[in-house]
């Protein structure tokens, strides 16, 4: 099941050229672009790991693409996303985030129904991928 988080996730995967145009848009707005990766696709997982530091003071998207390709070399079997941080007063938060790399197959989520007091049910989603330990999900080494 294809996960849909962040911008553009209902579109076909962006090509490198499209990614670089989006990044250039962010840089043009003065936002700092950051690369993050994870192998835990749960939508409530807000702790993606950072690939280096957020990139401040860049003028051109080529620098970000260079880092993205480095990151793909190491973590090409995981989810990688770009996020753009706006440091201007009043915002000081993330303005845009989109996935730029995803595993070859995404096994999707299991819905667990826990029967509790009375006829009540508690729902939990759990990714099939996280059944395996971190680092070896998605056919990793």
């Amino acid at each position: 099941m294809r996960i849909t988080q962040g911008c553009f996730s209902f579109l076909p995967d962006l090509t490198d050229e499209q990614i670089s145009r989006q990044v250039q848009y962010c840089l043009g707005k003065g936002w700092a672009v950051n690369i993050e990766f994870t192998d835990d696709p749960h939508p409530r997982n807000s702790f993606w790991e950072m690939w280096g530091l957020p990139m401040f003071d860049l003028r051109d998207a080529a620098g970000v693409l260079m880092e993205l390709n480095e990151c793909r070399k190491v973590y090409g079997d995981r989810y990688i996303r770009m996020s753009a941080f706006d440091s201007s007063h009043g915002w000081e938060s993330q303005r845009l985030s989109f996935i730029v790399n995803r595993p070859k197959d995404e096994p999707g989520f299991r819905l667990e129904r826990q029967e509790v007091d009375g006829r009540n049910i508690r729902y939990t989603t759990r990714s099939y991928a996280v059944d395996r330990p971190e680092g070896s999900r998605y056919g990793g080494k």
């Binding site: 990139m55 860049l58 003028r59 051109d60 080529a62 620098g63 260079m66 880092e67």
Partner: protein, 309 residues
């Protein structure tokens, strides 16, 4: 520029479908706005004939490359990495700034910023510090020009564990693989750059343009001095100019002469002496002309003149 408004050289979108056959070279030249930059270079930089010549050549090549691309004549992106060698004060940094704007006008670098660095900004202090540091600078320079001043300091032959080598390797790799994303300019004094290239043959072969900055002649130095003074709203009196001509001749014979930089320093000292001369007599009314003009006595008080006797 006004030709642009009357009718576009090619209808929009046409260059994707079919290649154009003929190009009005003058219109193309004007559209790019390169003539203006080159004229400015001629006007504002005194001397430096071989440098200007080479920049004109590069600019012409880039203009033709641009047209060739529109005609769908395939060709590789020309290598634009450069090295500037020359004595101190010959204008290497000034020219590097201009190069960035020329390349930007011609569309060979996308943003046209100049990132000027020295060893400090590229090389780290401990293991694992250098690569991120160098990459950060490279990322900032993407789409523009990376100017590495005194590049020979990157290589320290006396210390084989120096981290400079790591920075050099990363630079070389990016210079080769991302030629269309950034232009690297190395600068430094001639003899030391030669040694640097001798110990790093990879650099020499990846740099297409080796430009040597000649020393200025006496006459050119005087012209530079007058331009500097004009920018500062000063002027030489006739006698002071004559004295300054003699000053240049004498100063050039002394050690540690660094061309335009020495001239600038000399002018700063002359301004000091002029101010002191004016202040020494408080009981009078100054007019603008007096405040602006430098007299022969201000020049002749220099240490350079006293040493010759």
């Amino acid at each position: 520029m006004n030709s642009e408004t009357t009718s576009p050289a090619i209808p929009p979108g046409a260059n994707e479908t079919l290649p154009i056959e003929r190009v009005d070279l003058r219109r193309e030249f004007n559209e790019v706005g390169i003539g203006e930059v080159l004229d400015q270079l001629d006007r504002e930089l005194i001397g430096l004939k071989p440098v200007k010549m080479r920049i004109r050549e590069i600019a012409s090549l880039l203009l033709i490359e641009r047209i060739r691309k529109r005609m769908n004549l395939t060709s590789e992106v020309p290598t634009l990495h450069m090295s500037f060698t020359g004595n101190p004060g010959t204008g290497k940094t000034t020219v590097a700034l201009r190069i960035a704007s020329i390349l930007h006008k011609l569309g060979f670098v996308r943003r046209g910023q100049l990132v000027s660095v020295t060893r400090d900004e590229l090389v780290g202090q401990y293991i694992g510090h250098t690569a991120p540091k160098t990459k950060e600078i490279l990322k900032k320079a993407m789409g523009g020009v990376l100017f590495i001043d005194e590049a020979y300091y990157l290589h320290r032959p006396d210390n084989e564990r120096d981290y400079g080598q790591e920075a050099i390797e990363i630079l070389l790799q990016v210079m080769e693989s991302q030629r269309e994303d950034l232009v690297v300019i190395l600068a430094g004094y001639g003899d030391r750059m030669d040694k640097f290239f001798a110990s790093n043959p990879g650099f020499r072969s990846r740099i297409a343009h080796h430009i040597d900055f000649p020393d200025y002649s006496d006459h050119e130095l005087l012209e530079i001095a007058e331009i500097m003074l004009r920018d500062l709203n000063y002027k030489f009196s006739a006698a002071a100019r004559e004295a300054f001509v003699r000053y240049i001749v004498l100063r050039k014979k002394q050690p540690l002469f660094s061309n335009a930089r020495s001239i600038r320093n000399a002018l700063d000292r002359i301004r000091l002496r002029q101010a002191n001369r004016l202040v020494s007599d408080l009981d009078r009314v100054l007019v603008a002309d007096e405040v602006m003009s430098l007299e022969a006595s201000d020049v002749l008080a220099s240490r350079v003149f006293s040493n010759q006797f």
